[in-house]
Every structure is written in C-alpha cells, then in structure tokens.
C-alpha cells in the first residue's frame, strides 16, 4: 500500500515559540504516499512542535516543508486544509458545545456539498459516531472525543492526516482502541503522521518512525526495527538504567 512517492517532506527545520529559543534544531522528515509515520522521543524533544511546524502553527525560522513537491512553509491553516492536510491537536480537539454531527460538519466546512458522502465514509469507520450524532461533544469521554476529532479531520478527505498524541489522557484499553483506529484510517489510504508518547504501541502500528531528541531527528527506522532496539529504552530513560 505504501509507495515511495514522498507526500510530505520537511527539510532541516529550525523553529520555536519564543524569540531566540529554537525547539527544533535541524529536524527532517519524509512521509511517503500511504505511509503511517510515527514520531516518538522523550518529553520536550520537540515532537508536537514538529507537527505544528508542518501545519503552520509554529514560526519556521529556517528550512522548508514540501507537500507533493510544492513548498507549503508558513501557509495558513485554512489553505493547508484546502490542500488536503488535516490536523488533530492533542487537547481541545473538539467543539464541546456542538453535537457530534455538527463537529463532523465543521470538518467539511469548506465543501458542504461533500458532507453526505464524507459523513457516510467516516461513520463507516466509526459507527458509534452515527449512533450518537445528536449528542454534544462536550459531554463525551476522552476516547470518544478522540474519535470525534479524528472523524472531523477525515471529513475533508485529507491526503495527509497529522495526529498529535491520539492516546493522550486515555486509559490503556482506550489507547489500544485509538491506535487501531489510526491503523484503520491509514489502511483506508490516508498518509498519517502521528506524534506519540506511547512509543511501544506507536512502533507496533507504524510503518516507519522518527525518534526525536533535543529537536533533532536522532534516529529513524521501521517500527519493527526500533521496537527491538535497546537504544530506545536508553533514549527514554537516559543512561540511568545502566548505572548500578
């Protein structure tokens, strides 16, 4: 399913929020057509920042981002959505006072004609959303919100889906559900770039992963390779584990 055509290419990104302080220090990433890419690394390594930089929410100071070969560095969010990039933030990712159906409708705001068709597609992936479509998203549990958020992002028929920690704040069982959902979405043909703190789960489902450390891509490989790599534990827990 995954081909070798690059869809998203980030090259040597330097970016940060505060003047003078870069969170990303020369970070690169390539996602090919149909791939499920994981971004993992210790807290504070710049994973979310990388995702936000791709989605134009962080000021990129140098380096550039290509979408299907076209430079999209610094484009506004609504332009990116038009170009088929969808983003699911880690927190506050649903509209609490809107119903589930309305949340999904917002996903396809720019092309209301497509609503019916996309809605059918999304609820075929998440049948629960259809059953509870009149319920307000504010009253949902964390896992359900995650489902709504992902469903909303899929409404635009994105070619690339950016997910920021879909497992954040979920119980282990719900986390597993969320990961399966991501896999399903990916298998439906969407290129997914996912930031995850739950590295093991992430590596289990992704095709390829980037390990970030201090704002750089320290390591890359297929999920399987990394899963069995002893360096992984070291990156997460420092070299502490070796010390007696």
């Amino acid at each position: 399913m995954a081909s070798k055509t690059p869809v998203v290419e980030a090259k040597d990104l330097h970016a940060g929020y505060l003047p003078g302080i870069n969170i990303l220090n020369g970070c690169s990433l390539t996602a090919n057509q149909g791939e499920l890419i994981g971004i993992i690394g210790p807290n504070g390594a710049g994973k979310s920042t990388l995702l936000k930089a791709i989605f134009g929410q962080v000021n990129v100071r140098s380096g550039n981002i290509l979408l299907n070969g076209e430079d999209i560095t610094g484009l506004k969010a609504n332009k990116l959505v038009e170009k088929g990039v969808a983003f699911v933030p880690q927190t506050n990712n649903v509209f609490p006072s809107l119903t589930i159906e309305e949340n999904l409708e917002m996903g396809v705001f720019q092309n209301p004609k497509d609503f019916k068709e996309r809605y059918d597609f999304v609820v075929s992936l998440f049948p629960d959303l259809d059953k509870r479509k009149a319920q307000k998203a504010g009253g949902l549990s964390g896992g359900e919100r995650q489902m709504v958020a992902m469903g909303r992002a899929l409404m635009v028929n994105p070619s690339v889906l950016l997910l920021d920690e879909p497992s954040a704040g979920l119980s282990p069982v719900r986390q597993d559900e969320a990961f399966l959902r991501v896999r399903e979405v990916n298998q439906a043909g969407v290129t997914v770039i996912m930031v995850e703190q739950n590295a093991r789960r992430c590596l289990q489902i992704c095709d390829r992963a980037y390990v970030l450390d201090q704002g750089k891509d320290a390591h890359t490989g297929t999920g399987r390779e990394l899963l069995t790599d002893p360096k992984m534990i070291k990156l997460y827990l420092g070299d502490l584990a070796d010390q007696k």
């Binding site: 807290n43 629960d128 964390g142 739950n198 789960r201 827990l237 010390q243």
Partner: protein, 285 residues
Amino acid sequence: MANDISVGKAEPGCKKIDPILVADNVTRQFGGLTAVDVKHVEIPRGKITALIGPNGAGKTTFFNLLTGFDKPNTGTWTYEGKDLAGMPSYKVARLGMIRTFQLTKALSLLTVIDNMRLGAQGQAGEGFFKAFIRPLWSANEKRITAKADELLTRFKLDAKREDYAAALSGGQRKLLEMARALMSDPKLVMLDEPMAGVNPALTQSLLEHIKDLKNNGTTVLFVEHDMHMVRNISDWVIVMAEGKIVAEGPPSQVMKDQAVIDAYLGAHADTDLGTVAINKIKVGK
C-alpha cells in the same frame, strides 16, 4: 533494595525515615477526569526528589494542590507536621515552602533586583503604614539587597541587576525565578520543570545550583521531563502516571522498574497491535 531514605522497601507510598511533607488521599477531578489520585506519599527531608511521569500524569496539578494554587476534591497533607489542606498559597509560602512555575513568572516590568527583593520575607516596609517610615525598613532593605546581590552574583545575573526582567532570555528568567525563590531561605523548594525552555548551555549551571541547594540543607522537589537531569542530581524519584504514583525509589532502581518503562514506553498489554486484525478487537462505545 536497601537505601538510606525509605523505611523498608522502596515502593509506591512507602514511609520515609525523615519526611518533610506527607500527603494522604489527595484527589482532584476535572469534570469526569481524575487528574490526581495520590493515596500516600512522603517527601524526604534534605534530599532532591524528582517527580516524573508522561504528559498528563498529573504532576503539575499535584504541585498546584500541595502549594494551595488549586483546591483538591479530597485529601490532607502536612508539611513539617502542620496541616496545609485549605491553606491559601501565600501562607504556604510563608512557612518556607516556595515553588516556581513551569511557564516562568518573572515579573517582567520590575527590575531584576526588585524581583529579587520581592522574594524576601519579613520586610516591614511591605506593610502599608510602615511603608511611610523609611527608618523602619531601610536597614532591612539594605540587608535584603545585599543578599539579593549575592544571589545574583551566584546565578551570574549581576550584570542584569538594573534591567527589566522582560529583557532576560528564557533561561535567565528561570534562573531569576529560582534565585528569587531562595531569597526567603525556604526549607522546601518546589521546582516545576526547571529545565523547560532553557538553553542547553545554561542547564549545567542550573543543575549545580540545585545541588548547592541540597548542600545548604534545603529540600528540593522538582518536576522534570529531562531524564539526564533526573539521573544526575536526584536522590529519590517518584513516578506518576494517570494521576497515581506508580513507582518510587532511588533513581537507579526506579529506572529499571517495569512499571516505569511501561509508563513511558506504553501500556503493558502483551498484544501487538501491529499484528492484530482490525476487526478482532471490538471497539466499545
């Protein structure tokens, strides 16, 4: 494994030989979500304790509860044997339990030296009536200023003395906030992510300052993500996940704990999601 901090085996909620802070049954809920659910924890006196855990584990919320910046749903905790539950944050600080914040709260439009002076306790001139009578506080002000200058020198901020705090870099603000916290000679310093946003060049000096604190007899409790730092300076590590304390002990021991590795690397279920057929796992509502 034996150690010189806990009474008996190091395990979640274990008793300490000499605790400075003891918390029981502290919970905090936001809507339906339980952010903090700590059954029992003791912080050892005169040591550096690290509070670690993945995003959303409830570390900062726990900090806020202990220091009176947030109100728990249930729970009691004592500091030096004094009950702190329900005590307003400023009183907690006056007892010698001073905290810093994850996002620095340098008082931007005060000069660096005024920031420092504000950290001092017992300045009579901070009372409204005494403020008018300079002799009542000028001697004290001199003493405070001298102390502030000494700390600024120690933290290498003396060159910035007269600058507005707004003019400092992110790392310098962290240093200033820490130095300011030390103005009151606290017994317990609580640092919320002291390394976040700090330029790597400054991290080493921050680490040294924290070690110095311990050498001067101050207890340190800090929240941190940076495992290198945790390994480097902490005597004791407490691990939180999903609001609960899942492990504690000396760093070398905790880092090998399966619960800790799981907390960071992911849940402990043995199923490999990469190989599970999608329709096998039924997704409930």
